[in-house]
C-alpha cells in the first residue's frame, strides 16, 4: 500500500539505504548498530564482568579472600553474610560462599561456552553438508534428527550422565554431542536457499570445489545465524547443566557449579536463604543477558530493520 504522498519519502529512504549498503559492509553496519544498542551493550558488559570474575576465581579466592572453594570448617557453618570475614557467609560445611560462587561461575560458564561451541561446530558442519548435497544423505540425517528429537532430551542426558559418570569434560562432550540438531535444521534450511543463488552458481562455473563453495562462499552468509545461535545456545546449555547438576548427575562435588550448589539447598531453605537465592540468581542473570545479546545481534544483522 503506497500512497502518493508517501512515495517521495520512500524513495529517498531507499536511496539512503542503498548508499549505506555501498559504503558499509554488513558486518560493519551490524557492529555500528550494536554499539548504539544500549540494552545489548549492557548485557555484554554484565557477561564480561561475570567472565572476568570467574576466570579470576583462583586469584581472588586465594589472594583476596584467603580461602579455597573446598576448605571445610565445621566450626563455622551457615554463617550469615559478613560474619567472620566471609563476605557472603558460609554454607552447610563452612565453606566460603563467595569463593564457591566464583569457582562455580568458572565451571558453569566454562561448560556452557565450550559445549555451545562444540555443538555449533557440529551443527553447522552437518547442516551445510546436508543442505548442500541434499538427496539420500539429507533424508538419513533428517530421520536421525527426528528420532533424537522424539526422545525428551533430558531423558537422554540423564542416561548418558548416569552411564558415563562424566566430570566437567565428559559433560561438555555429552552436551555438545546432543545439542546440535536445532542448529543443523536452521543451517540446512538456509543452505538450501543459498545454494541456488547466483554467486554459488558462478563459483561453481569458475571451477570451485564443493568444499570451497560450502566453507568460503556459503558459510560467511550464515554468520548472523551462527552468532545468534551461539549466544542463545550458551544460555540454554548453562540451564541444562545447572538442571543436571541439581539432580546430582552433572558436575560431581566438591567441584562447585551454580547448579550443584543448589542440590541440597532445599533442606536449609529456612536457615540460610542467601545460599539458595544467589546461585540461581546468577544463573538467571547470565542466561537473561545471553538471550538479550542473541536478540540484539539478530536485530543488528537484520537488513529489514532500518535505523
Amino acid at each position: 500500500m503506497t500512497t502518493a504522498s508517501a512515495e517521495p519519502k520512500g524513495i529517498a529512504r531507499l536511496q539512503m539505504e542503498e548508499e549505506q549498503l555501498i559504503s558499509e559492509s554488513l558486518l560493519k553496519r551490524a557492529l555500528r548498530r550494536l554499539w548504539h544498542d544500549r540494552l545489548t551493550m549492557t548485557a555484554i558488559g554484565v557477561i564480561a564482568i561475570l567472565a572476568i570474575l570467574s576466570i579470576g576465581a583462583p586469584f581472588i579466592s586465594e589472594q583476596i579472600l584467603n580461602t579455597d572453594y573446598s576448605r571445610v570448617d565445621m566450626a563455622a557453618t551457615f554463617l550469615k553474610p559478613g560474619e567472620q570475614g566471609h563476605i557472603l557467609g558460609t554454607d552447610d560445611l563452612g565453606r566460603d560462599h563467595l569463593a564457591r560462587l566464583l569457582w562455580g561461575g568458572q565451571v558453569s560458564l566454562g561448560i556452557g561456552f565450550t559445549a555451545a561451541i562444540l555443538s555449533i561446530t557440529i551443527g553447522v558442519s552437518i547442516g551445510i553438508f546436508t543442505g548442500y548435497y541434499g538427496g539420500i544423505v539429507d533424508d538419513l540425517i533428517m530421520w536421525f534428527i527426528t528420532t533424537i528429537n522424539s526422545i525428551p532430551s533430558l531423558f537422554l542426558l540423564l542416561i548418558f550422565a548416569a552411564l558415563f559418570d562424566p566430570g566437567p569434560l565428559g559433560l561438555i562432550l555429552v552436551l555438545g554431542f546432543l545439542g546440535w540438531t536445532g542448529t543443523t535444521r536452521l543451517v540446512r534450511g538456509e543452505t538450501f536457499s543459498l545454494r541456488e543463488r547466483e554467486f554459488v552458481i558462478s563459483a561453481r562455473a569458475a571451477g570451485a570445489t564443493d568444499l570451497r563453495i560450502m566453507f568460503v562462499h556459503i558459510l560467511p552468509n550464515l554468520i548472523s545465524i551462527v552468532v545468534v545461535t551461539l549466544a542463545i545456545d550458551i544460555g540454554v546449555l548453562i540451564l541444562v547443566e545447572s538442571g543436571l547438576s541439581y539432580l546430582g548427575l552433572g558436575v560431581p562435588p566438591p567441584t562447585p557449579s551454580w547448579g550443584n550448589m543448589l542440590t541440597d539447598s532445599q533442606s536449609f531453605i529456612n536457615r540460610a536463604p542467601h545460599l539458595v537465592i544467589l546461585p540461581g540468581l546468577l544463573i538467571t542473570i547470565t542466561v537473561l543477558c545471553l538471550y538479550v545479546i542473541g536478540d540484539g545481534i539478530r536485530d543488528a544483522f537484520d537488513p529489514t530493520i532500518v535505523d
Binding site: 530421520w143 536421525f144 527426528t146 528420532t147 533424537i148 528429537n149 522424539s150 526422545i151 525428551p152 532430551s153 533430558l154 531423558f155 537422554l156 540423564l158 542416561i159 548418558f160 550422565a161 548416569a162 552411564l163 544460555g235 540451564l239 545447572s242 538442571g243 541439581y246 539432580l247 546430582g248 548427575l249 547448579g259 543448589l262 539447598s265 532445599q266 531453605i269 529456612n270 536463604p273 539458595v276 537465592i277 546461585p279 540461581g280 544463573i283 538467571t284 542466561v287 537473561l288 538471550y291 538479550v292
Partner: protein, 344 residues
C-alpha cells in the same frame, strides 16, 4: 482423512525403530554385569551364573538379543533349563516391548511396566494441569499484547516471557517454596499423597493446594512460549484483508479481535502439541524432584541412579512414543481445524 492418518502413522514407524535401536545400544554400552545387577550377589557360583546368562539370553549375538527384547522369545525354542539340549516345547518366556513386556525392574522386583504404571497418574495430573494452565494464560496474554502492541502490557509480557525462559525451573520452584511455603506459609512445601498408600489419594479437589506451585513451575516455559507465539500469529492475522473488511463494515473492535482474528490466529498453536509433550516429560523430571511429586519423572532419576535399566528403557520408550503420537495428533489436528489445508 483416514488415509492421511494412516500415512502419518506409517511415517512414525522408522522413527520408532530408530529409538529402539538407539536406546538398546545405550543399554549395551552401560557398565556393570547384568547378572550381578539381577542377583545382587557377587559370590554366585560359575554354574549358576552360566545358567542365568543362558536364561537371560546373554550369550546370544546382540542382534538376536535386540530382537528378543523387541518381540520376545516365546515363539522360538530357548534352552530355559540350561542343560545344553533344546527339549520339545521348551520356549522362551519373554514377550518383548512391542507387547508391553519391558522386563523386570532390578530394584522393585516387579514388571517394569507396572512400576511405571503406578507413577503415571501423578505425572498425568501435573502434566495436564500444566498444559491447561499454559494455554489458558499464554493465549490471552499473547492476544492482548498484540492488540495493545507497543503498550505497557505488551512490553511487560515480553519481559516476562524472556525471564521465564531464563530462570532455571528448579530454582523458580525453590524460590516459590521459599516465598509461598516458608515465608508466607500459604501453600504446602512439598509432597502429594503417595501412590500405594492404604485407601489411596483423596479426590483431586481436596488437595488442589499441592498442585498449585508444581503446575506453575512446569507451565512457566509454556506460558512464555505460547504468549510470544500467539502475539506473532495475532499480529500477522490482524494485517489480513478480512480483518480490515470486518473493521470497515463497522463491527465493534472486540468482535473483530476475538471472533475474527484470535480464532484464526490460534490455529498454528495446534502444531505445538508434539513439542509441548517433550517439554512436559523433561520438565516433569526436574519439577517432580523439587516438589517431591511421586511421578514418572522422579522415577526416571531414581532408576538412572540405581542403574535399574529395564525401568529406564521403559520410560525412554514410552516418553518417545507419546512424543511421536503427539506430533502426529498435532499434525492431524492442524489439518482438521484449518480448512485451507486439504488431506491430499
Amino acid at each position: 482423512m483416514l488415509k492421511y492418518t494412516v500415512r502419518r502413522l506409517i511415517q512414525g514407524i522408522p522413527t520408532f525403530f530408530g529409538i529402539t535401536v538407539l536406546s538398546y545400544m545405550l543399554m549395551l554400552a552401560a557398565p556393570g554385569n547384568p547378572i550381578e545387577l539381577l542377583t545382587f550377589d557377587p559370590n554366585i557360583s560359575v554354574e549358576a551364573r552360566e545358567k542365568l546368562a543362558i536364561q537371560a539370553g546373554l550369550n546370544d549375538p546382540w542382534p538376536l538379543q535386540y530382537l528378543t527384547w523387541l518381540i520376545g522369545n516365546d515363539w522360538r525354542p530357548v534352552d530355559m533349563n540350561a542343560n545344553g539340549v533344546l527339549e520339545e516345547g521348551e520356549y522362551g518366556v519373554r514377550q518383548g516391548i512391542l507387547r508391553g513386556d519391558f522386563g523386570r525392574s532390578f530394584f522393585y522386583k516387579r514388571a517394569a511396566i507396572t512400576v511405571i504404571g503406578d507413577r503415571i497418574p501423578a505425572t498425568l495430573e501435573l502434566g495436564v494441569a500444566a498444559l491447561i494452565t499454559s494455554l489458558v494464560l499464554g493465549i490471552p496474554i499473547g492476544v492482548i499484547a498484540a492488540i495493545r502492541r507497543g503498550g505497557i502490557f505488551d512490553n511487560f509480557s515480553r519481559v516476562m516471557a524472556v525471564v521465564f525462559n531464563a530462570v532455571p525451573s528448579f530454582w523458580l520452584g525453590i524460590m516459590m517454596i521459599l516465598f509461598f511455603g516458608s515465608i508466607l506459609g500459604l501453600l504446602p512445601m512439598n509432597g502429594r499423597c503417595g501412590t500405594v498408600l492404604v485407601g489411596g489419594c483423596p479426590p483431586l479437589y481436596a488437595r488442589l493446594e499441592y498442585l498449585i506451585m508444581p503446575t506453575f513451575v512446569l507451565a512457566a516455559g509454556g506460558i512464555a512460549g505460547y504468549s510470544r507465539y500467539m502475539r506473532t500469529s495475532m499480529l500477522e492475522t490482524i494485517s489480513r484483508d478480512y480483518i480490515r473488511t470486518a473493521h470497515a463494515k463497522g463491527l465493534p473492535g472486540r468482535t473483530v479481535w476475538f471472533k475474527h482474528a484470535a480464532r484464526n490466529a490460534m490455529i498454528p498453536i495446534a502444531t505445538f502439541l508434539g513439542p509441548a509433550l517433550t517439554g512436559l516429560w523433561g520438565g516433569a523430571v526436574i519439577t517432580e524432584r523439587v516438589f517431591g511429586w511421586p511421578g514418572v519423572g522422579r522415577l526416571a532419576v531414581e532408576a538412572v541412579t540405581q542403574r535399574d535399566y529395564p525401568v529406564v528403557m521403559a520410560i525412554v520408550i514410552l516418553g518417545a512414543v507419546s512424543t511421536i503420537i503427539g506430533y502426529i495428533v498435532s499434525d492431524i489436528l492442524y489439518a482438521l481445524i484449518d480448512p485451507r489445508i486439504r488431506f491430499s
